[in-house]
Amino acid sequence: MTELLRVPHTMTLAWRYGTSWYFAEFIRALRDERRLLGLRCPACRRVYLPPRPVCGNCYAELREWVEVKDSGTIRAFTIVHTPIIDPTSGQLRPTPYGMALIQLDGADTTLNHYLAENDPSQLQIGMRVQAVWRKERSGMLSDIVHFVAMNNEQ
């Protein structure tokens, strides 16, 4: 029988994603003022981060900007040991690293982001954390390097 083969393909692809007004404003405040902005639902009063034009629960249009702090509370956490492809670079992300769902002060949703800590025994749900920012900001969520426990703050 003929030997079975695999035909390899590797591609480099490029996209340009539009932000609309709501994400453009979020990026502007993040990049220029180091501020995090959420949008509040006029009906249920929920503050959404990431900002979006509509509340999925109420289907109400969101227009009211609310400042959200860069400190918050851990609502879920894990230490990731298996490498995944970093979508922003295409490279495997070094492991292990801490991940958490963080409820930022002033937001009703949680933010999934990195933790400086990667020892699970040092983490618990309810812990207070603070964002560590990059010196040069580019207007990406990755302008926040990771979050650190507030009692370890310098």
Partner: protein, 383 residues
């Protein structure tokens, strides 16, 4: 709505890499077996619904390249892609096509060849403005939700490992299942590589190559072709918010699965699911999720899922066997995984499940789970 039944199912051998078959050939194998099981030819099929997550293989328009494997020439063909729920969503769409009177016989085929691409590449193509900066893949995201579930319910790694062992033990009686791990133990699961705390390698589903097909027929055709059809009694689907951070403790609350199950049970008249349902094929991508689904599906009260697995209630010889096929934890070609749940539930009702047949099945449940929290619930019965 007309009464509709599953009259035939077919699947391929699932494996880590099926280099011996192209996507189209896998689809043809599953289709041919389902047609033979139903005792019909492709000429009796009025329409076809396909299920596949094409980003995983990087081949656009699979309904065109792969459609001929399903016998799609000059027939109405459509494709559904909704992440993990793709297969159950396709089964629900196929059911609607029959029940509505649009078509009399509908073929549903789902497939995936994870070996052809990096599944993570597909997962990495998430929402570009927000999610990509902080994506941690299916394992990391599940692990986050599991930390909340463990905190709320106090389930242990041992209880989760028992789910993983049950699935793989059942899979050894299913010749089509991908993972075949003889004599797997709880210790083996707990000692396997840590992927993301507290999820070990053996707590997680594999990535498989494979295909599965289901054939529906309306009442008069079903009775003509099949001695014991598997009647569709309810088919319910629910979607939810886009970002993981939008959901309030996803695995704890699981509002989509609770809503879908409640509506499906109401339609069938089920009030005590654990006692009334004879077998369940549920979409459990990770061991802990199966425990969370027990609660959301009403198999037990909140906080009782650990006891259910400890007491063996969901084992093959328990009151409600869950995933006799070995489940998603043993076989996971994503586009086919939901079709497999429906096919395996139907096989149980039809008495065609071979070595993993549960005796005297009259009522079977199948579920789908996708993305952060989308759910499908399908109930099949012997009458």
């Amino acid at each position: 709505m007309r009464r509709v039944a599953v009259i035939g199912t077919g699947q391929t051998k699932h494996a880590k890499a099926r280099d011996d078959a192209t996507q189209s050939e896998l689809v043809r194998q599953a289709t041919t077996r389902a047609l033979a099981d139903a005792g019909i030819t492709i000429h009796e099929v009025d329409a076809i619904v396909l299920s596949n997550m094409e980003l995983f293989e990087g081949r656009a328009l699979p309904e065109m390249w792969v459609g001929e494997g399903a016998g799609g020439y000059r027939k109405p063909v459509m494709k559904i892609a909704t992440g993990g729920t793709s297969g159950t969503s396709a089964c629900i769409a196929g059911y609607h096509q029959c029940a509505s009177g649009l078509f009399d016989i509908v073929l549903v085929v789902g497939w995936e060849k994870h070996s052809e691409g990096a599944t993570q590449t597909g997962m990495a193509l998430t929402d570009p403005l927000w999610d990509r900066n902080v994506a941690s893949g299916a394992v990391g995201n599940f692990a986050l939700s599991i930390s909340q579930y463990v905190a709320a319910r106090g389930v242990t790694p041992q209880q989760a490992a028992k789910v993983a062992v049950k699935a793989r033990r059942n899979a050894t009686r299913n010749p089509y299942a991908h993972l075949q791990i003889d004599g797997i133990t709880v210790e083996q699961v707990l000692q396997s590589r840590m992927l993301a705390d507290p999820v070990h390698l053996l707590d997680m589903c594999p990535q498989s190559d494979g295909a599965c097909a289901v054939i529906y027929a309306v009442e008069d055709r079903a009775k003509k072709f099949c001695p014991r059809p598997s009647w569709v009694r309810a088919a319910v689907t629910r979607h939810d918010q886009p970002y993981i951070g939008d959901l309030d403790r996803r695995l704890v609350t699981m509002r989509t699965l609770r809503d879908a199950a409640r509506e499906a049970y109401q339609r069938v008249g089920i009030t005590e699911p654990l006692r009334e349902i004879d077998v369940a094929e549920i979409y459990e991508p990770v061991s802990y999720a199966e425990l969370a689904w027990y609660e959301a599906l009403g198999f037990c009260a909140e906080g009782e899922a650990g006891r259910l697995i400890d007491d063996g209630v969901t084992e093959m010889n328990g009151e409600l066997p869950v995933n006799p096929s070995g489940g998603v934890l043993s076989t996971n070609p994503v586009g086919a995984s939901g079709v497999l749940r429906v096919a395996e539930a139907a096989m149980q009702v039809m008495g065609r499940a071979g070595d993993h047949q549960v005796p005297d099945v009259r009522l079977a449940l199948a579920t789908g789970y996708g993305v952060y929290a989308w759910s499908d619930v399908i109930i099949l019965s012997a009458d």
